[in-house]
């Protein structure tokens, strides 16, 4: 079994009288240690797929198995616990809590885990060091640049040592130079920390930085420019 197994997943939602189906019977496998970029046009369902794997959205049908847990069957409360333990989420717009300092933002996910204050402090310091923001620990989001905010967002995503780090357009709101810094940082998260990474992006150059590139086109998953039939990637 792979670390992430998406089996025949469909997602529908209503838009007035119209039913939108961004995902229609999609299957996908991601191995431990993979760095996968998921690309596609706007509305192709790539963020929907990422959100389903992250457990913040519910599939209409199908199964999603992450690290041995069938997450589509979990209640809201248990799903929240599961996210706290297994998912690190990097948002496009950083979404740091404005009233908390960089340090406190990074510490947030650890407050949900059974951990001593000393252990929390140690982990936050390591994460802040990993994103090279130790000197900005006491700064509030409004006192930081967009790139720094995103680095704090990445530190927050990796601090609890999650099973999978998901990043939804992590460079979407950044300039070229900062984009490059963030992409390098994400590569290090995968290479040096060995974390499994799934990144949604519409930027082909950013997508190429991943070890595997997957495109979602008209409901079909394409890998390396071809519709894939590999064991790692299936369309239903």
């Amino acid at each position: 079994m792979s670390l992430v197994d998406v089996l025949n997943v469909t997602k529908e939602y209503a838009n007035g009288e119209e039913t939108i189906r961004p995902l229609d019977g999609v299957s996908l496998s991601i191995e431990e240690g993979d760095y996968v970029s998921l690309m596609g046009a706007s509305g192709s369902g790539k963020s929907t797929l990422l959100n389903l794997i992250a457990g913040i959205d519910q599939a209409t049908s199908g199964e999603i198995n992450v690290a041995g847990t069938e997450i589509t069957k979990l209640s809201r409360g248990k799903l929240a616990d599961w996210r706290a333990a297994h998912i690190g989420y990097v948002f496009q717009t950083h979404n740091l809590i404005p009233v908390l300092t960089a340090y406190e933002n990074v510490e947030l996910p650890l407050l949900l885990l059974p951990m001593s204050a000393a252990e929390r402090r140690k982990r936050v310091e390591i994460a802040m060091e990993a994103v090279d923001l130790t000197s900005r620990a006491s700064h509030y989001p409004r006192q930081m640049s967009g790139g720094q905010e995103q680095r704090v967002g990445i530190a927050r995503a990796i601090v609890a040592n999650p099973t999978v780090v998901v990043a939804d357009e992590p460079t979407g709101s950044l300039d070229d130079e900062t984009t490059e810094q963030i992409l390098q940082l994400l590569s290090r998260v995968n290479d040096e920390l060995g974390m499994t990474l799934l990144m949604v992006t519409h930027d082909a150059d950013a997508g190429k930085r991943a070890k595997r590139q997957i495109r979602l086109e008209r409901g079909r998953l394409m890998e390396n420019g071809k519709e894939t039939t590999s064991a790692h990637l299936r369309t239903a």
Binding site: A54, I56, D57, G77, A80, W82, A85, Y89, F91, I97
Partner: protein
């Protein structure tokens, strides 16, 4: 759960103007709530005091204002001989205002030797000896002294009645702290009058086990055909009758107390709803990080409780300080109701603010906890 308290406090501080306005509004409402409660407690204490059932007040029939009740003082001798009567205290009352007033001055003139037996007073300054030796001496209740800034040795004049303060006392009955005691004869001769032999009322102290109604009927029966007919009631009933209109008003005012609670509820709920609406995305982020919906609910509830309780504490402390330091009272027809601050009232105020905080946070907390994460993350 306490790990998130700094987040809650910082969130409240982020919108400090809104928070301070809500807290101050809550504080004012709780202050009014406690004021109303203190007046009601004062009225209750006055009418339900145990000694009020063992003491009779003999007043001139069909008279209400003390200025108009004129009883022959020698009625006291006749009453004293009745079975079950322990003591009779002749009292002359003078007040500067018969109508309901927040600053009425009420003098009660009685023989000095009776003052020590009929009242439970402890002097905070001055002495009984110096009071007894001087005709125009007065013992001033602590609340009047505070209100009027009186101290031992001061001369005090009101409505042509001038006295010299020879002591300030604290009574076990809060309402009495609003009285000024003088010599009976001094008050009978005050303002150029010669009312010696005439009193406003007779206070009859009964022996234990005696039926007060029976003695009251006996007294009224005795003087029915006398020069002045009497109406005799227990002290509690006399005070309740005298304060009739005011008591009704105070009874009605308790609805204002409930209105204050409603106001706090609405104020805190509005602020909490605004806070939740402002942070739809933030709550979605917290849920994405792994906060359970129940935990989000509790965070909102804590915010609401902090707002309301903080306002409650300020309001309660403020009311206790104001009531304690000003000795406020309301009087009508010579009977005063002291605004009584008490620990029970303070605890009631805090419980009310806590309960209101919880109530106000329920709906917004539920709303925040049920928010769908993905649509909320798209929220601007």
């Amino acid at each position: 759960m306490f790990k998130f308290v700094p987040y809650v406090l910082k969130s409240l501080w982020r919108h400090r103007a809104r928070t301070l306005l809500t807290v101050s509004g809550t504080a004012v409402a709780l202050l009014v709530f406690c004021f109303i409660g203190s007046v009601q407690q004062g009225l209750l204490a006055l009418t339900s005091d145990a000694s009020a059932d063992r003491t009779l007040i003999v007043f001139q029939e069909n008279r209400f204002c003390p200025q108009s009740s004129r009883l022959p003082q020698d009625y006291g001798g006749t009453i004293a001989k009745m079975s079950g009567v322990r003591d009779v205290v002749p009292i002359k009352v003078f007040t500067n205002n018969c109508r309901a007033s927040l600053d009425a001055i009420v003098f009660q003139g009685m023989p000095p030797e009776k003052l020590t037996t009929a009242r439970d007073l402890s002097l905070t300054s001055g002495s009984m000896g110096s009071f007894a030796q001087q005709d125009d001496a007065a013992l001033v209740g602590a609340d009047v002294a505070t209100r009027r800034g009186l101290a031992e040795g001061d001369k005090f004049t009101i409505g042509d009645v001038s006295v010299v303060v020879r002591g300030v006392f604290q009574s076990s009955v809060a309402a009495e702290n609003n009285l000024i005691y003088t010599h009976l004869e001094f008050l009978q001769r005050a303002r150029g009058a010669n009312d010696v032999g005439t009193v406003t009322q007779l206070e009859v102290h009964l022996a234990d086990g005696v039926d007060p109604d029976h003695v009251a009927k006996q007294i009224d029966q005795e003087f029915r055909s006398g020069p002045v007919a009497t109406t005799t009631r227990t002290k509690g009933m006399f005070q309740a009758d005298t304060l009739g209109d005011l008591a009704e008003l105070i009874g009605f005012v308790h609805w204002l107390g409930y209105a204050c609670v409603g106001l706090v509820l609405s104020l805190v709920a509005t602020t909490t709803v605004m806070s939740v609406q402002d942070r739809i995305k933030e709550h979605a982020v917290l849920q994405t990080l792994g906060l359970r919906p129940l935990r989000v609910f509790r965070l909102v509830l804590i915010e609401s409780v902090v707002l309301s309780t903080l306002g409650g504490i300020l309001g309660v402390v403020g009311s206790v300080l104001i009531l304690s330091s000003t000795g406020m009272s309301v009087a009508a027809e010579g009977v005063t109701i002291a605004f009584e601050p008490s620990a029970v009232l303070a605890v009631q105020g805090l419980i009310v603010s806590l309960a209101v905080g919880i109530l106000a946070g329920l709906a917004p907390g539920w709303h925040a906890s049920r928010t769908e994460i993905v649509p909320a993350l798209r929220h601007a």
